[in-house]
């Protein structure tokens, strides 16, 4: 029983990361209809920037995290402008291939600058806590709390701000939004900025627990896509619930069945579900 609770707790922590990253992706993929396959690499780069700021510039963890998020937001805007905007009227697969180019570039960039080996960010809150019989560290609890805060903030942003409302309008009807004078370019930029920044925050939060490495983004990016497709394109609640479910399933599968094959379950499940419902569980279609 204790092991079970411990695994569920680990799953929730993993799921927090998945949820936040998937929400960022669902904004871009589901709402702007851009299959940003490099999203996991934004996450990876965010972790590296925090690592760099903390270890080389000796900045404290929290300011480093904020700075990393800001830098990633800028990068998001840049990538949208250079890579994805020219693809807007082209077949969907072209944007997908551009995204592959982007992720190759980002991964190679990190390789060149920081080398292929993993690095560790000094854990700012390493003290262990005993929470209802689950032994954990403060940092792990922080990951979970930060995810909740971030999700609430994103929700408020979409529901309560003008920009958020605009994004929703574009999501529902791009042509219509253009007709009423909404600047689609600006909406795209802002969405990318928000999406990349949240990925950076999620990455920076878990970076002190796991290692940072150039390949950490690839698998996570795929999982985020799985969550988004299963949770329903463009659905923020779907991405959140899907993220937590994937995290818990993975932790339990890894703990009880096989650590080696834990990802096989997630990926296999996606193929099976798409076989039954080609547009995803709650899917509306995007070309």
């Amino acid at each position: 029983m204790e092991v079970f609770v411990q695994q569920v707790f680990n799953g929730i922590m993993l799921g927090s990361t998945y949820a936040v990253v998937a929400v960022g992706l669902t904004l871009v993929f589901g709402i702007l209809h851009i299959p940003n396959f490099a999203h996991g690499h934004f996450y990876m780069l965010g972790a590296y920037l925090t690592f760099f700021l903390v270890t080389s510039w000796k900045i404290d963890f929290w300011p480093a995290l904020v700075l990393s998020a800001v830098l990633l937001a800028l990068l998001g805007v840049l990538v949208e402008r250079i890579v994805f905007r020219p693809m807007r009227d082209q077949p969907h697969v072209n944007a997908f291939i551009s995204a592959i180019g982007t992720l190759m570039f980002l991964e190679a960039f990190v390789m060149v600058v920081w080398g292929p080996q993993g690095h560790r960010i000094p854990n700012p809150y390493p003290e262990t806590v005993n929470l209802l019989g689950v032994v954990t560290t403060q940092q792990r609890l922080l990951v979970i709390a930060a995810a909740v805060v971030l999700i609430v903030l994103l929700h408020l942003f979409i529901k309560k701000t003008v920009m958020g409302a605009t994004i929703e309008a574009v999501a529902q009807n791009r042509e219509g939004a253009m007709l009423v004078g909404i600047n689609v370019d600006r909406v795209s930029s802002v969405t990318f900025a928000v999406s990349a920044a949240t990925a950076a925050i999620a990455a920076s939060m878990v970076a002190p627990i796991f290692m940072v490495s150039p390949t950490m983004g690839a698998l996570l990016g795929m999982k985020a896509f799985i969550v988004v497709i299963l949770g329903g394109l463009g659905s923020v609640p779907g991405a959140i619930v899907g993220g937590y479910i994937l995290g818990i399933v993975e932790a339990l599968g890894g703990g009880y069945i096989s650590a080696d094959y834990k990802d096989v379950f997630a990926f296999g499940a996606l193929i099976l579900i798409l076989a039954i419902k080609p547009t995803g569980l709650f899917g509306k279609e995007v070309g």
Partner: protein, 335 residues
């Protein structure tokens, strides 16, 4: 077609062929020849990818998975004592059979969904290759794979594959065979139906083309050639590891294909050879290799989605129009 006409039209290809046959003489360095040989192996894989991605318009990211199935298939079968010449077609057929069952569910999806579903399959293959120790040797993989068996020839004796030159000719033979098959496929109604499905699936259905079956056929043939390439790779490298299923390998092929020109026959070959040559000759780039690739891929998608061959064709068209005017148009529906 009369013989004279044949030579008049095909002479550039004959020159290329002579050049290809002379490669071992032109590049005596074992290392260089090895690099060229391996590029040709990858060109076979890229030609396969071209069929599904270029002609049929479906971004299959499972290609490295099928390459791996071919590679592990040949590795296991030849180590078990089977002849390479039997193991290779069997492994390729295995890759094709697996792709049939992977295609059934995944080809029901479209666009990015298909890309992601197939990528999931590719990752599953690489995880299984790394984890199923008793079958695949885990992360170390399988070593000591025999070279292709020598072919007995009357009079000449046996042709073995110990020399780099012989290995090169072996791969060249398979590359030409692949090109031949692709040429026949593409220059036929079957090939037109691949493009028709890519171009407009609804219209394709309205004129009686079963888009799903067409995509499945293209996917299976593509995977068959991925399997062939993988099998040859295993036998010539003498070892396989889960790296043969890696996403990066496949992303390289995507780069070769897109920069060379997807949906053309020359594109994948030109792309593979040119980019391999470029990365080899710019050794100082080695570290920045993928950095440059990534940027080039994006630039290609933005500025010339039809790749190198597309660029050359666009230039060539002007020349041809001029030429036609001089010679007079010959109406040929034989195309």
């Amino acid at each position: 077609m009369r013989r004279g006409q044949f030579f008049r039209e095909k002479w550039p290809y004959l020159i290329l062929l002579v050049f290809a046959l002379a490669v071992p003489a032109l590049f005596p360095s074992r290392y260089v020849l090895q690099v060229i040989t391996m590029s040709c192996v990858f060109a076979i894989a890229t030609l396969g990818l071209n069929l599904i991605l270029g002609y049929t318009g479906q971004v299959s990211l499972a290609h490295a998975g099928f390459f791996a199935i071919g590679a592990y298939g040949v590795a296991m079968m030849t180590k078990a004592g089977l002849s390479f010449w039997l193991a290779l077609p069997l492994s390729a057929l295995l890759a094709a059979a697996v792709s049939f069952f992977v295609g059934l569910p995944t080809l029901r999806t479209r666009g990015s969904y298909f890309a992601i579903a197939t990528l999931c399959f590719g990752v599953i293959v690489s995880i299984v290759a790394g984890s199923w120790f008793s079958l695949t040797g885990g992360h170390t993989g399988i070593v000591g794979i025999p070279l292709p068996n020598a072919i007995p020839f009357p009079l000449v004796g046996e042709i073995g594959f110990h020399s780099k030159a012989a290995q090169y000719y072996l791969v060249l033979g398979f590359l030409l065979l692949t090109l031949f098959v692709m040429h026949r496929l593409v220059n036929s109604v079957q090939g037109l139906s691949f493009v028709a499905v890519r171009n407009n699936e609804v219209l394709a259905g309205a004129v009686g083309i079963n888009a799903f079956a067409t995509k499945l056929l293209s996917f299976v043939i593509a995977s068959f050639f991925a399997g062939i390439a993988g099998g040859i790779y295993a036998s010539l490298m003498r070892s396989v590891s889960p790296d043969v299923a890696s996403i990066n390998l496949m992303f390289n092929w995507v780069v070769y294909l897109l920069l060379g020109g997807a949906g053309t026959l020359a594109g994948p070959v030109v792309g593979t050879l040119a980019i391999s040559a470029l990365t080899e000759s710019l050794q100082f780039l080695a570290e920045y290799n993928l950095l440059v690739f990534g940027a080039l891929l994006v630039a290609a998608m933005v500025y010339c989605p039809r790749g190198l061959v597309g660029l050359v064709e666009a230039g060539g068209k002007k020349v041809r129009v001029y030429y036609r005017r001089q010679v007079g148009v010959r109406s040929d529906l034989e195309g």
